[in-house]
Symmetry: C2
Subunit: 244 residues, 2 copies
Amino acid sequence: MSNADAVKTKKPRGTGRRLHGAIAHKLGVAILSGEFAPGDILSGEVAFSEALDVSRSAYREAVQVLTAKGLVESRPKAGTRVLPRSRWNLLDPEVLAWAFAGEPDITFIRSLFELRGIIEPAAAALAAERRTRDDLKAMKEALAGMSRHSLATDAGRAADRDFHDAILRATRNDALMVLSASIGAAVTWTTQFKLRARILPRNPIPDHRAVLDAIAAGDAAAASEAMRLLVDQALDDTQTSMAQ
Amino acid sequence: MSNADAVKTKKPRGTGRRLHGAIAHKLGVAILSGEFAPGDILSGEVAFSEALDVSRSAYREAVQVLTAKGLVESRPKAGTRVLPRSRWNLLDPEVLAWAFAGEPDITFIRSLFELRGIIEPAAAALAAERRTRDDLKAMKEALAGMSRHSLATDAGRAADRDFHDAILRATRNDALMVLSASIGAAVTWTTQFKLRARILPRNPIPDHRAVLDAIAAGDAAAASEAMRLLVDQALDDTQTSMAQ
DNA sequence: CCGAGACAATATGTCCGAGTAAATAGAAGA
DNA sequence: TCTTCTATTTACTCGGACATATTGTCTCGG
């Protein structure tokens, strides 16, 4: 009975995740924040696993996660190398979460909004053509949720996400629906930025209702335009809140 | 009596990948092809690892990869469950590869083209405004490569990918550049479909040149329109080749 | 007869140590 | 100087053991 083991009874429950998930989170945030730059080498499985106080198995499984998301690549003798940013799956919801865990790059946020400005108006147009009664029902419920709760609450932000999600689902396009998670994350985190900067976003209900009305009417062009306005205003709010 | 071990000298080098990568590939294809449907449970780590003739560590690392891509979720006692399709990271290059490994869903291919039809014209417009001299040079070289080699060759398809990739890079938008891998994959595999169906795609050079010229001229509207035509024609070719 | 709480069974999660294979750096030779 | 070979370093794979958490069941009480 090694008495040294008795001291080691600490439970490294850093997050609520599984252990390897927590390790992946830690490493992912470190990479996204630039602590480990592309080209850097995380050499030494044993060294890192010991430094993080986990077994090599847990560390390796964490590295597999990072590899699956295109953040690193590991080869014998060469070690585990951080890949260039172009290989990162930046639209992966988890990677996105890591990117926003630190202080996110303003340029990157603008990129996300530019993507929203491309995807969502087009999606709204498609939704106007293809939406079913159930889709409209989901949108209305989400909008009602936004009316009940402020965007300052989790419930309000969830309703906002649900609204945009319902539109993307109404496009009946799997590839677009996948982007829902990414775009939803962008919506949520940018909203939190505004709050962090003590900026109260203007009342979003009218803009959202305009989109809903156009989709319900089956007017693709109007839906696209209404959504474009909505995204533009959200970008304005975000930029002013980051400027200060 | 370990003489049975001596027989076990076989090298299960299924693919060129690492072992856990090969397992992940096998499981990923099985899931994408519908062999394992959402909700199905891959219960029994030991059973699966033995069935695949690999250690439990290798199997677990493979499952971590699938988990990272949103294909499965595993919990103690409950087993490893295949997640609903909406949770899959269908735009992940590796997942896309698994989707095209079997016989891909026509609906899904149409979804990808719809996404291209949204992204690429908008990207071309942005590229027209932001392209540098180096960007134009890359596009010209890619176009030259397409002229030299037919799309029936790997080199030709690579040049095609390079062309679209250069445009997305010229947008100076990280979020759009990430989609490059996905869209590039869609371009490559759909081109191969046409070949498999003995359909010779029409000469793609003029269409591509039109896009390049508009971007070089800095005419965003023209670039967008030219790209829209290009994608539409590619979709036409693909649909006719799949119809037969 | 039905519901709530305790309990045990089971599958995943974690850890350990050894041995294998591969890729790069260095040494030896041409 | 260039090529080839060796040798070391590093990731990769394996098998086993223990810990942990969830779930289904069983019992007890209403």
